[in-house]
């Protein structure tokens, strides 16, 4: 064994993290080795606090330290407008725009018929209950424009349509900062179909 047991242990844990290979895990472990005890305490406490304090919001499934989350709890948000997203990362991305005033519903996954991920495996039932029990006027489909995302939004739209609620989805268009000539034909086609008035 080249490394001592405790060093090996830490390298092993780092390697489980996304995008971290053997080399990077070693670098991180050696970094931890040279920080002060105080710093090491802080790091480990941060991890433990995260795991003990953070839970899922009982209304929207967003990550939160208080239940309901700050968005669901906020009276100045429009609670009749729900944006459906796949995971908390998507919620954060939309929230960063600072322009959305409605609330969210986090599905915690997408439907994937090829992988046997069905309606009961993600939080669709919770969305339906929420919509039926509250005065919801519009549901925005904020799922990704890929096969799983499309399947998910088509499935939810089908469940919602008898309820007479307005169902919309995010426009698909040409990414800002790119040249039109490099956009692929499907993106351009969608952008043409979803064109807006000047």
């Amino acid at each position: 064994m080249i490394y001592s047991e405790s060093l090996q242990e830490l390298i092993k844990e780092f390697k489980k993290m996304p995008g971290i290979g053997e080399k990077n895990a070693q670098r991180l472990a050696f970094y931890v080795l040279q920080i002060s005890n105080e710093q090491a305490q802080k790091l480990s406490m941060a991890i433990i606090n995260l795991k003990t304090r953070i839970r899922y919001c009982s209304i929207c499934s967003n990550l939160t330290e208080v239940d309901p989350c700050a968005i669901c709890h906020n009276p100045s948000r429009d609670h009749s407008l729900i944006c459906v997203v796949e995971d908390p990362k998507a919620l954060i991305a939309i929230e960063k725009t600072g322009q959305y005033k409605g609330v969210y519903h986090v599905l915690m996954g997408t439907l994937s018929p090829l992988d046997n991920i069905g309606p009961d495996d993600i939080r669709i039932k919770e969305l339906m209950t929420r919509v039926e029990k509250n005065d919801v006027k519009e549901v925005i489909m904020g799922t990704s424009p890929n096969m799983e995302g499309e399947t998910t939004s088509l499935y939810i739209a089908r469940l919602l349509s008898p309820l007479g609620i307005k169902i919309t989805r995010l426009a698909r268009g040409v990414p800002i900062g790119t040249d039109i000539e490099y956009a692929d034909e499907i993106t351009l086609l969608n952008a043409l179909e979803g064109r807006t008035k000047f």
Binding site: G19, P113, L114, N116, N146, Y182, T187
Partner: protein, 247 residues
Amino acid sequence: MPLQETQALVLRTDNLGEADKIVTLFSPQTGKIKGVANGARRPKSRFGSSLEVLSYIRVVYFAQPKGLHRLNQTDLVDYFPKIRVELPKLAAALYLVDLVNSLTEQEDSNPDLFNLLLYNLKIINQGNFEPVLLRIFEIRALTVLGFAPQFEKCTICKKRLDFLQKNVYNILCGGILCLECAKDKGGISLSCGSINFLKQAVKIDLDKIGRLKLSANQAQEVKQLLHQHILYNIKQEINSYRFLEKL
């Protein structure tokens, strides 16, 4: 590392690492192949939206000896956009690609199966989707792969089957039995109409399959028989079939 070029249908994609995809393709020349598309999940990837499941593409790849090739360039031929906006069509099309993926081995060329799949995706994209199309696809796919059940003779006693009376499909025997042999074995009972439909569905020209019809009762029998027979051959559930059944 020879450079290959082929047309292909995308059967499935799996994420690899942070930004790559492993893509399972079905090509008329090489059959099912798998390839890595580096950076395919990045927004400005050179693969664009061509590597989505159900896309019909032209692909250039570096063939690797171990069977996981490296995709170099792709062009979209057809995206079947109308399949992707209607749930019954999307679920049906996903079942077709899933079935082809489940029934085939890698690098086993079968141009007939490719043409069958492509033709059916085009039909689903263009017209109204009818479940009878799935049954025709199933029996034809089983036939071109050499897995189809025999309709001429009883699987056990080899006696010619009498099509004026009901016969029985028995999963343990993997085939159709005469009433005598089925007595103590049981199974799915098949009307003459259902068996005739299956024989027709195999023989008829592809562009005439729209003419084949099934009564509600026959549809149920045929669906059960083919599903049992597929499970008998591949020995596992087909994920997308469950989704289709839940709609």
